[in-house]
Amino acid sequence: MRLSEADSHALAGAPAPTYLEDGTTVMSWLNTRDHKRVAVLFLFSVIFFFFIGGVFALLLRFKLLQPGPFFVDAISYNRLFTLHGVVMIFLFLIPAIPSAFGNFVLPLMIGARDVAFPRINLLSWYLYWIGAVIAIWAMVHGGADTGWTFYTPYSSTSPTQVAPILLGAFILGFSSILTGLNFIVTVHTLRAPGLSWMRMPLFVWGLYATSIIQILATPVLGITLLVVTVERIGGFGLFDPARGGDPVLFQHMFWFYSHPAVYIMVLPAMGVISECVCAFSRKNPFGYRAIAFSSIGIAFVGFFTWGHHLFVAGQSTFIGGAFGILSMFVGIFTAIKVFNWVGTLYRGAISFKTPFAYICGFLYFLVFGGMTGIALATTSLDIHWHDTYFIVAHFHFIMVGASVMAFLAGLHYWFPKMFGRTYSEGWGLVAASLIILGFNATFVPQFLLGNFGMPRRYYQYPEHFQALNVASTAGATLLGFGFIIILIYLAIALRYGERSVPNPWGSKGFEWMTASPPPTHNFDEIPTITQMPHDYRTHEPPGVIRVA
């Protein structure tokens, strides 16, 4: 048997090198089976695409400073909002938390040496890049102007590069499915002794619920995009009214994936927050079971809400009402979580570190975005707000306000775990304040604009909307500065940051049982778990190594 570098160190009696030191060549990264390295590859990839998507957003907002034609022409504007949506959703939000942080900490949290299928895990990263490269190729060759929703019949006739973008999204779907499949099998078969389901960290519960959606919803998107592609190439006509097809069927099939996909973006974010809330208030989770089961509840009910995107697409009033009520169930499960997080914070020993700032932002944005979601699920109100900036503001509150805040909370919370370095806490808080302030300045005006009737995706708008649009663009600029500050101080920390102690937060999350950064094999011996996660009542470590 060939010895890995880590094994030979162990044989020599020296402490095992960290996963970062176990092989330093490029190939040792590109051909790795280690879940931690795959996670780091994903982390850098999604951050790269986050900045690309962000540049598209800033260009859009820059155009919207003026009501008339300005800066870009109308077709480029259509391409910009399409690419902003496609990049942010398929290349950032969907993989961000599960594939980067999930891959890194899930095996650590359940006391495993790796995910169940390490090679498939690496394959998932390669599929991500194949999909991404196809999408980039399409962007360079003219992009698409359909919006990220690819509504037919326009998407089957648009002269832009819709087909390669659809193909890219199809391949990215495979990447997402394989990650979800890996996580479910890992949770079922690789939990350490003593780690019963009711002791699983809440982040693992969140990822488990996410994986169910990834497996059951993504294939439906796959076939839908495939049918649009053959429609473009071969004129099959399934969604083409000229050939007896029904374009609304596309909307049904598209949202059967794409609404649950919102929960692919939000459930892992909620999991990150569940971990951070406990760690930074030094309390066990209040209502552990309620938080865990509400994740499964959201995953389940999320499959029965897609019709709320079709309230004005000719759906019957009865079906609209039914979908509206079903959508409100998501609000109940989300509220259960919010109450439990607040219950956890209550009388906790709160340390106001950078991740905690993002927790505060997250809670506020999630409640605000969630409440407007309940309002939008009411058919009569939705008719007024449908396809206006009110919708844009609502889903940005959830996707940026909730998911990106949680991504940043996780990034700061696990940064010492992943890289063994500390970042500048002062700059962390400055950037967090800028981002939360900038976010409000960007999207609160959009709620107002939408309520006044400004439609989304329009190139021009009446002059009396200009003041609010300028405010929104100013906010987006602040937001952009905030992200650039984070990029700079984390890049500096990566190279010059002080060495971190193994558990800088004193967290009792299970992922902190091992060294930071962990050795390649995670644990010298698999621990036996003896506690609930985040049990701060004792000073005992959460897991013990029983020597037989």
């Binding site: 040496r113 299928f117 294939p219 439906v220 076939i223 007896g244």
Partner: protein
């Protein structure tokens, strides 16, 4: 005969646990395959409801004999792949290999018959969507029937090709002596996949040829 080297991953505590993981992984993957086809089945249901006459008429003009023979061929191939697993777990690798060869031959036969059918459609101009010019069924909705027919049988045919490739790879591993009563999970998973390909056809056959 022991377990061949390199089968147990370093992160699994036992082979039994790893087998459990592999089986669960395969079943989850099969679930994604079913949902992939579910989109087309939904499309079929919607347009069958919309154009009942055209669909019934289109169905009458398919080659029923070819479809029936193909159904028998696929069901038999499912039987031979199940036999292959049985022979592998009772330490008869040569018999297992013979069964796998039979399965692959039947997969080829299926594709051959399908190709003959496709050729007929091309000659009759019974083609999907905008290329449709089949004189015997000129009513509205018939083009939609052929669109769905080509999409569903095409995607299924692609799965037959994938399944056949997987089985060929498994045949090679069987000939290397990898599967025995100690370890046969790889073969078992290939068999599972083949059963799914078969099962989807069992739904396609009545929907497209019989009703």
């Amino acid at each position: 005969m022991g377990i061949p080297e390199g089968i147990i991953g370093h992160h699994f505590s036992s082979l039994a646990r790893q087998n459990e993981a592999m089986r669960l992984g395969m079943w989850l993957f099969l679930a994604t395959e079913i949902l992939l086809f579910a989109g087309l089945f939904t499309g079929y249901a919607v347009y069958r409801f919309e154009f009942p006459l055209a669909f019934a008429d289109g169905s009458r003009h398919l080659n029923l004999a070819a479809g029936t023979v193909n159904t028998v061929v696929l069901i038999t191939s499912s039987f031979t792949v199940a036999l292959a697993i049985h022979f592998a777990r009772t330490d008869r690798p040569r018999a297992a290999a013979v069964c796998l060869v039979l399965t692959i031959l039947m997969a080829l036969a299926f594709l051959g018959i399908k190709a003959i059918e496709y050729t007929e459609h091309f000659h009759e101009r019974a083609l999907p969507g905008k290329f449709y010019a089949f004189k015997e069924v000129p009513i509205p909705g018939a083009a939609m029937f052929y669109s769905l027919y080509f999409l569903m049988t095409g995607l299924h045919g692609l799965h037959v090709v994938i399944g056949m490739s997987v089985l060929t790879w498994i045949l090679w591993r069987t000939l290397q002596g990898r599967y025995s009563s100690r370890y046969y999970t790889g073969l078992e998973l290939g068999g599972l996949y083949w059963h799914l390909v078969d099962l989807i056809w069992i739904f396609l056959y009545p929907l497209l040829y019989l009703i």
